[in-house]
């Protein structure tokens, strides 16, 4: 931890020295980047790493671009009475960002439901929004959600929302394909009834049916239950090869893995990227997950990264004293694509920066080389499969293109 404490002031001092050295005069002005993520309550663990990633990206550019000072504000879209994201607070954050003239970019949200609230507000304000975590397809892709999506999120008709994570419709398909390759013939599907889990389980189910995998059960769990022993009994009686849980660590992905083990289920267990974090292994217990737990993730895992990604890993490690998590990668990438947008913008205002971010092509990112398409989605379709072994995620193979 000591390194972490020292590193922050050092980085700040270096940053200001660099600024002083490069541009003699005072900054031309201030550009503000805000993030709106649930910082109170159970999602706090994941959002901490996202914020770390964002801070790292901003520190790396010395806190300034072309003489413009880059400011960062970490907003909380959760409220103490809810202990989770709160639509009122999210709307409040979006409105205050929209009103703040110096604010030029909005990193968020964590929950797709929160994005639905913030997107129209920011769209009217012409503010670029980059999400490090939303995977609900309807936010960007026509025909994937309701009939009126995604047009309802773009009252001005312009695209201002971008995401750097592949959507659920990709991940569900790749996960099912991988299950087939692993020789699964019977699968029991679970989801956590959240937007994320429900979407991904639906896609997984469709693809599994297409591949001829028999679906022996489909259940929506109560993510606050103390244990899932009765569920495990139900699963065992159906005798599947694989249990697929579409959900996150927060919605008890670890506990299910653990209960499958202690309930005597011998088959495989597969989860999506909502569980691709150390906390999942910590919650599930390494001895319960080792060798039988498969995790899919949109992008390559940090330690497989080369070039930019490898640099990121080492600087993250030296700054925060821990290995970066998947979520940290997303946060870092979101901040970097915005910073690149600011650097490339012809005019350093909202419209200029929005245009520059939208024009992102062949971005040399931590997640590989990718571009934003016309809907605001990442072109990166690289997905990787991991297995839990020896209490760590171990890279198995690349799943997508």
């Amino acid at each position: 931890m000591k390194i972490g404490y020292l590193a922050i002031p050092v980085a700040v001092v270096c940053g200001s020295l660099m600024t002083a050295g490069q541009v003699a005069q005072a900054p031309v002005g201030t550009l503000k980047i805000v993030s709106s993520l649930p910082r109170t309550g159970s999602a706090n663990a994941q959002t901490n790493t996202i914020v770390n990633g964002i801070r790292l990206a901003i520190d790396e550019c010395g806190g300034q671009i072309d003489g413009w000072k880059i400011e960062y504000q970490d907003m909380d879209d959760a409220s103490p009475q809810r202990g989770n994201w709160d639509p009122t607070v999210e709307a409040q954050n979006a409105n205050s960002a929209a009103k703040d003239k110096s604010c030029v970019a909005y990193i968020g949200t964590f929950n797709s439901g929160a994005a639905k609230v913030a997107m129209p507000i920011l769209n009217r304000a012409g503010l670029v929004m980059v999400s490090p975590a939303n995977t609900y397809p309807g936010l960007t892709k026509p025909g994937q959600g309701e009939a009126n999506e995604p047009a309802v999120y773009r009252p001005t008709g312009k695209v201002n929302y971008f995401r750097i994570v592949p959507t659920d419709d990709l991940q569900g398909v790749y996960a099912a394909n991988w299950a087939k390759e692993l020789g699964v013939t019977k699968v029991f599907i679970l989801n956590d009834r959240e937007l994320y889990g429900k979407g991904i389980s639906g896609v997984f189910r469709k693809q599994a049916e297409k591949l001829g995998i028999e679906i022996v059960g489909f259940e929506e769990i109560d993510s606050k239950a103390a244990n899932y022993r009765s569920l495990v009994t139900k699963v065992k009686a159906k005798n599947p090869d694989l249990v697929y849980f579409a959900g996150t660590t927060q919605t008890n992905g670890g506990q299910i893995g653990k209960d499958l083990r202690s309930g005597g289920f011998e088959g495989m267990y597969m989860v999506p990227d909502g569980c691709f974090e150390r906390a999942f292994i910590e919650a599930g217990g390494a001895e319960n997950l080792n060798g039988r737990t498969y995790v899919t993730f949109g992008g390559l895992p940090p330690e497989k990264l080369t070039g930019k990604g490898a640099e990121f890993c080492s600087s993250y490690r030296s700054k925060f004293g821990a290995d970066p998590e998947a979520y940290a990668v997303y946060g870092y990438e979101a901040a970097r694509v915005i910073l690149a947008g600011i650097a490339n913008a012809k005019t350093k205002d909202r419209a200029g920066i929005l245009a520059a971010v939208a024009a992102t092509t062949d971005f040399d990112g931590v997640l590989g080389k990718w571009s934003f398409d016309a809907d605001g989605d990442t072109s990166s379709q690289v997905m990787s499969g991991q297995i839990v072994r020896g209490g760590e995620f171990e890279f198995v193979k690349v799943l997508g293109k």
Binding site: M1, G4, Y5, I8, R39, T40, N44, N48, V51, N52, R55, E71, Q73, D74, M75, D76, S79, P80, Q81, R82, G83, N84, D86, P87, T88, V89, A91, Q92, N95, S96, K99, D100, G113, K116, V117, P120, I121, R124, Y136, G138, G145, E146, A147, N148, V152, P155, R193, E194, L195, K198, E220, F320, G321
Partner: protein, 338 residues
């Protein structure tokens, strides 16, 4: 019950000024949007005050009626459903539908005593969330229903940019609710509520039809809460997801009523200002200020200001009832000593 307009008028006058002040203040100090939340919770808590404050029935599931209001509003207005009503007619309909829901819950259970009733309302709150989540064919499950319309005046539909209009609309609806409840409070019905709260058996022997009176209290509270739900959905242009209306919201409403002064309208208003103000104004602005000035740290759990929010909220509750056990603004009719 002499009409003493003092505090309410001062509050009202101050409330009217806030958007004007916002015009000249920097973004960080603007308050109108946060105060809007205070109004919304004040309406919700006024509803709860009818059933818990006046009739003395502890209700731990008021948020369920808010959810019913929000989803009713959503289904009646959203373009993906066949009804597609306008803002005012849909908001008007949330009131009878909320009352009906209150009636459905109340009818079989009002014979229950005190906390047995409380647990049933708590259970109802959970059931409503589950049903909204599970009947996704109708309610879109956790997706939420959006977009929802804002009020239209003279052919111009408001957007989020018209925030001061929203502010004054909520203020006006709050004032209307306060006047309506004040009239109820002083009516025959209001006196009947007080009477069953103080002594059910005595009231019964005086010829008050206790079950019916309780039922009306239940339905009134549900109707007001449903209206608050419809309003909140319209402001957000989305119903959010069912768990946005969970037990924690019911608890917040209850804390507003009790900390403010149970059974007192002015008390509920002050309670909403203090509780919601603490959560969504003071704590939000304070953490934003600390973050902007580099106070606090990510690495250490104790140094991150966000991690203190539960504790501060809890301490505020404990201290409030400790220092003012009968509320910040207690009602003028004191309850009989127990």
């Amino acid at each position: 019950m002499r009409w003493r307009p003092g505090p309410i008028f001062i509050i009202l006058a101050l409330a009217t000024c806030i958007p004007l002040l916002d015009q000249i203040l920097p973004v960080e100090l603007q308050l109108s949007e946060a105060v809007r939340g205070v109004f919304l919770y004040a309406i919700l808590a006024l509803g709860l005050n009818v059933v818990t404050g006046y009739a003395g029935l502890l209700n731990l599931g008021i948020a369920a009626f808010m959810a019913i209001g929000a989803y009713t509003f959503g289904i009646l207005t959203c373009e993906i459903y066949p009804f597609q009503l306008g803002f005012w007619s849909a908001l008007g309909l949330t009131i009878p539908i909320g009352a009906l829901a209150g009636f459905i819950l109340g009818a079989p259970t009002l014979g229950l005593r005190g906390d047995y009733l409380a647990i049933v309302t708590l259970g109802f709150g959970e059931i409503v969330q589950d049903v909204l989540k599970n009947l996704d064919v109708v309610t879109k499950g956790t997706q939420g229903i959006n977009p929802l319309p804002a009020p239209t005046f003279g052919g111009h539909e408001w957007t989020a940019d018209d925030e001061y209009k929203w502010y004054y609309l909520l203020l006006a609806l709050l004032v209307v609710t306060v006047i309506a409840i004040r009239n109820l409070e002083r009516s025959r019905l209001g006196r009947a509520w007080f009477s069953i709260r103080e002594d059910e058996i005595a009231s019964r022997s005086m010829g008050i039809r206790v079950e019916r009176i309780k039922m009306i209290a239940f339905a009134t509270a549900a109707a007001i809460a449903a209206m608050a739900g419809g309003l909140s959905a319209s402001i957000l242009s989305s119903t959010g997801e069912p768990s946005n209306y969970d037990f924690q919201i019911s608890i917040l409403a209850l804390c507003i009523v009790i900390v403010g002064g149970i059974g007192s309208i002015a008390g509920v208003l002050v309670g909403a200002l203090v509780m919601v103000g603490l959560n969504s104004i003071v704590l939000v602005k304070a953490t934003a200020w600390m973050a902007a000035h580099g106070i606090g740290s990510q690495g250490n759990v104790l140094l991150s200001p966000n991690n203190w929010k539960f504790l501060i909220f809890g301490l505020a509750l404990v201290l409030a009832v400790r220092l003012k056990p009968s509320g910040l603004v207690p009602p003028r009719i004191e309850r009989a000593p127990q």
